[in-house]
Amino acid sequence: MSNTTADSRWTDGVRDVAPILLSVAPFGLIFGVTAAAADVPALAAWASSFIVFAGASQIAIVEILGGGGAPLVALVTAIVINARLLMYSADMGRYTVATPLRGKVSVAYLLTDQAYLVTSHRFPDPRTAPSVLPYYFGAGLGLWTTWQIATTLGMVLGASIPSSWSLEFAIPLTFMALLVLAIRDKPGLVAAVVGGLVAVAAVGLPYHLGLLVGTSAGVAAGMASERWFT
């Protein structure tokens, strides 16, 4: 996925996202298993895969409500976890300026960490990129389909997946790989180091706020460091 070609084909999007599916599938299975074991209505938990379509927040809803937490806490937590999508939306918006409304709605619905990251990696500059939509929809629909199948399978299979397989480790591994590929220059490295360390320091904050605090610090540090490297 490192070569940047000018055209955008949906098959390329599927191909670039295929290795990521290796980690999305276990993540989906884990959500399904968690939801099946939790003390929550199963049908609504299952439906969250296409209504919310954002794994970490879906797990949070199931765990908070299943653990007897307040519905408002579950809702706010899910929203805060998903707030990073605002940042992806801001970046993806540069690629979809000329897209009709229906296309924009579809792009937004399919917006995930992975779909955003492969697209911005493949087409770093929206000014020179062609319509990225075929590529993006290939990646996005590949992820969507995998997520629906994996979460459904997880709910059906339930506890029969042994925890000794440590499938949950596939999630940080994928993000580690995306991180390595996302660091393109020295200010980018500064953004990553500061963002990561601040997020670790802020890990005790409620509602996963450490993620937003760390990201903001990293972005600010990356911008500030530009003048050292030019």
Partner: protein, 107 residues
Amino acid sequence: MTSAATMWTVVILAGIVTFAMRFSFIALFGRISVPPTIERALKYIAPAVLAAITLPALLAPDGSFDAWNFYVPAAILGGLAAWKTRSIGAAIVVGLPSLWLLQWLFG
């Protein structure tokens, strides 16, 4: 047990707000012009957010700082594999068996 009505309400409201956040700037671009400072900031979102997701997951897997766990060396090996090959799959193919090996040797 949480009632079905409560669960559905939370799921649907979370879905609506999540979609609104996904749609927000995609809808606004083209209608407003984006200040150059914001344009510059967007470049650093990917590395910053990825590090802010990855490092706590490795160094504080259970929510409190604990760098002494098998995730760390296995993820470093996976990260090196991704860096060498420029491929995400390589991180899984190298990292997950590394974790199994470490758990088998020292677990």
